[in-house]
Amino acid sequence: MKQFRSLLQILDRMFLVVSVSALALMTTLSFVQVVVRYVFRGGIVWAQPMTLVLLEITSFTGAAVAVQRKRDIVVTALLRALPKPVERVVLFVATLLAAATALFILTSTPRLIGMQGQVMQILPWPRYVLTLPMVVSLGMIALSLIASAFDFLAGEEVPV
């Protein structure tokens, strides 16, 4: 379990670096595009589709980091009303259910990727490039949730 946690920590750093880099690139590219358009009356043709690819990367990898750091949005109004031991059991079930949902959606992505072989309009990349950040991040989200479920079993503090 300790090695699993260490692996998640490393993955967390990697996802964060990817997310931050994509955000920085996205912002720079959008800004350059605005300057080129309004100052030089021109435009970078590939800027917008590239920005959208970067938005997919930032969004999904950022979400994976948020789940790993337990910063995702959870409704806790009902949970807080439960006695502590019951709350722990309910959260354990909820965490497993969340992990199962992420894994289930993940298993339906190969069919989608198989349908996305055609090249995008401006960028010379296959359409599944847009899907890959979500696939990788759903995997990370599922791993983080499984680790959290084990933490509950081991008696760690419930994060609500």
Binding site: L16, T27, V65, I73, V75, A77
Partner: protein
Amino acid sequence: MSGAVMLVVLLAAMAIGVPVGLSMGLSAVAALIAAGLSNAFYVIPQQMVEAVNSVPLLAVPYFILAAIAMNETGLTRELFDFASALAGHLRGGLAQVSVVASMIFSGISGAAVADAAGLGSIEVKAMTDRGYPRAFSAAIAAASAAIGPIIPPSIPLVIYAFGAGVSTGRVLLAGILPGVLVGIFLMIANHFIALRRGFPREERARLGRIWRSFLAAAPALATPLIIIGALLTGIVTATESGVLASVYALAVGLATRRLSFRKLFKILEETAIMSGIIMVLIAFGKPMGWAMAFERVPAEAAQLMVNISGSKFVFLLFVIILLVIIGAIMEGLPALLILMPVLVPVATKFGIDTVQFGLILVYGLIIGFVTPPVGIGLYIMSQVAHVRFEEIVRDVLIYLVPMIAALFVIAYWPWVSLWIPNLVFGK
């Protein structure tokens, strides 16, 4: 049938603590199974990717980046000093300053959380230093932070525009007057609270002090000018105004030597995580909305409402009550994503302008920011002000009166929302 299954699964999953985004995903899976479409599960990831692949939504990370950069580089402090010079002499003193500062900061930040966490800490410190009760200081800071997502830039309004298929610029401009209106209502409440509790006024600032504080705050004050000015003149799009604002905020940080490389990484890290939290909700909300539309849930809900009462006024009253209740038990953004596909078609059927309805929906749910038991603003201020949650609740409840009164005005007087967008873009 599968619409009901979807709703039950969604509510049950959220109630037991499944993260909201994954609850939406689970409900879409349940809806597809109930509709006998088990061979179409690939639609869920497909819709998720398509949801994020949207130019208007690029504004979300940019608006977050601008607000976090302003907070991290300390420019928020100068905004508060300027607001203090302008409004400190009014009855209610620093409580009025909190509202004015929040109204100005709303022109930079599109999220109430950024307002409460950044400006809130400055407001509470200033107020407690001047002898205001800590819980009251936290309460007014939380209530005024709720103006943040109404005055542009606004992340919930960008998301609404995307979901309802209306112009982002038009919806953002529609938020200006309602935001000012909420601020005025809060200031009127402050006036009477100050009379009853005997809060002090600050000395009226001389012109010299106002001018100096204006100059110090000018770099920060330029941000709302960039965003709102760009929207009003139509020079750039809403997304581009977000890019300009965020690059400007970082440039000001560099020029004033308040932005180190370490701080820049921290700003980008926080922006990436917050964007991830918001965008993944939008991603999971899309297949859920798709499943709802596939099952004709919005159309049936519209018909049901029309059958119950054909009156627009009764429908708006129902919406106001629903929003205040939902906002009290659920966070605003997920609630917006869940309610939007159902309520917008009903509102359209009643002849309510889609732009005005966006304001009603977004502001109605924002009231939940300061409503127990979920009120995230109260939790943030509890942390920031080091005061117990229950104590803030006691002081914040009175502010629900002006906030809900403002919601009625926004709902029943369409021109409050529509005057500026109609003036700029035409009807």
